[in-house]
Amino acid sequence: MSVTIPPERFGLLFPFHLVCDADLVVQHTGRSLRRTCPALVPGEALNAHFTPLASPGPIRPDDLAGEPRRLQLLRHRTSPLILRMQVLVFEEPRRFVFLGSPWLRSASDLTALGLTFSDFAVHDASVDLLQVVQTAIASLDDAREATARLTEQRAQLRDANDALQASQSRFRRLTDTITDLVSIVDLDNRYVYVSPSCRTILGFEPEHLLDRTPDEFFHPDDLHILRDIRARRTEAPRTEQTDYRFRTASGDYRWLEAASSPVLDDDGTMVQVLVVSRDISRRKAAEEALAASRDRLQKQAEDLARANEELAVSARMKDQFFANMSHELRTPLAAMIGLSESLRGGVYGSVSPGQDRIIGTIEESGNHLLEMINDILDLAKLEAGTLTITPGPCDAGEILQASISMVRSQAAKKEQSIRRLLPSAPIRFEADGRRIRQALVNLLSNAVKFTPPGGTIEMRVDTDAEAGEVRFHVEDTGVGIPEADLPSLFRPFTQLSSGLAKSHEGAGLGLALSQRLVRMHGGRIGVTSTPGQGSCFTVTLPWTPPR
């Protein structure tokens, strides 16, 4: 069969074809070869433009004619073009027809040669092979990228694994050495981890608790705690701190103080619960002992309060009794004293000197008794809280003068002299004058009592403007007070240890009463004394200096 191919069809089938004469002078070229090698025009010597790829010499016609099935590779002298050709030899006249296309190793060769797919015959597989190669290259790139990504991920995985192992190792060391009991419970409330301290705290091997629930070990009375914690945790994961009793290997229970915290994953979802427990049995025992002690103390305090209350009632009854008794005593006594005075005054007829002396003794004893009863009455009122003072304007000089007049006759009997020192200017202050005078008279009366006959008593008043005080001083040249007696000086019914003091009458109420009266005014009584030389009592009262 013979097929004649028109030249334009031949050019379409072999766009890179080349026809040379017997001397390898170019006679015709395909359209694509002309585009690639524009200088390769008819008349040009083929060897001027191409050389054999494999040998250094020129292209020889004999070589082309001798081996028609041999692949001819021609290198373009001025471009990267390499033609991959099969040569057909036609005779009479001899012509060499080169059929083939450029050798392409990659798609970039196309670009370098300025070629497009349209330059190739459709049947030419070069372009398809290029696409296959390019696809393989792309796949290789993808494989490299995937390998690099895998390598990177493997490194990250290794680092993460190392970090995890380090973390686990730290955790293990921590839990192996910690004295607290560390445990992890899963969402089914089963132990998945228990630290070795379980042995010392509970007496169990850690494995004994694994896959079991805390419910099996909780004290039955404390199970509600467990249920409450779980209920709250279901609502919102939170850290809880609770005390409960936990069964040990010996069957008894130990108090544990436990802090349970949710273990969250990266999404914030609780996956486990971490529980750190501490044995607080000793503390609980101490707390129970303390509570028992506190209860005992509380009971004692209540007993004491009851006793105090009863005592206060007794004291009030006593004070009431004293008040009543004093009143009952004073009324007949006043009659006795009054009648004695009337007798001595001759109201009921004349009395003999002997009778007068006896009546005088009765009167004097009655007065003394009355004085004592008055003191007892006042003290009872003070103790009962019923004695009140009525402050008003007072003149220190007048009070001093009045106080002295009250003891003057007593002093005269012992031939004692009373000196008074009054300030040049009047001293006025706010006080209940009658009660202050009562206190001062007590002091003066004591001074007269404890000062030997012929002694001297001095009473003076002065002020301290800076301190805002007015001071009354009662100083004697009496027996003085031993230092040991000073602390009990103002206690009621107290007898001083001094033998001289005991030789004097008195119930020991005067100083106690005076001190309480002065204190009711916001003042105080002080004393300095030298045994055998005398004493000085000072009544200090608040005073506002005149402007």
Binding site: F117, D128, L130
Partner: protein, 186 residues
Amino acid sequence: MYGMVNRAIQDHVHRCHGEAMWARVKERAGVDIDVFIRNEAYPDELSYCLVGAAAAEMGVAAEEVLHEFGIFWVLHTAREGYGDLMAAAGSSLPEFLQYLPNFHDRVALIYPNLKPPQFDYSNAGPDRITVHYHSHRTGLAPFVVGLLHGLGRMYETPVTVEHTVRRADGADHDEFLVTWSAPAGA
């Protein structure tokens, strides 16, 4: 579809919207693949899921995402992996579009498992051509429009693309009238 399409989606989202957005798109699509191998066949559903997820994450219509992917595919994905081949397919937009049928036929040779679309053309003129698009897949016409716009940019030739025949309207294929003015610098 072959991995190249998924790779285009990945590269586009990653480059234009960042790695975090791509991570969200993958998560939403339920895809756990780090590297798409370009000549590896993947289920079509995976590509559709990625497009849907990207549209949802970006808050735009899927058609818009497909259009953007088409442009990106030409200008980046194809050029970066097959730049010389793309260049060899034609020295101008009309030449490329006329070679397009052969180009895809050759692609079918390389990817035996691929069911590539078929392109054809008609009414080729100095400033226009009608591109015929046949595919067993549906809903990818916006992607083709994006490809055509991307080719216009690649050849620096301003184009308009009119979707003249639609499968959505009952036709057996889509047709796009592509018109252009002179390329930049011509």
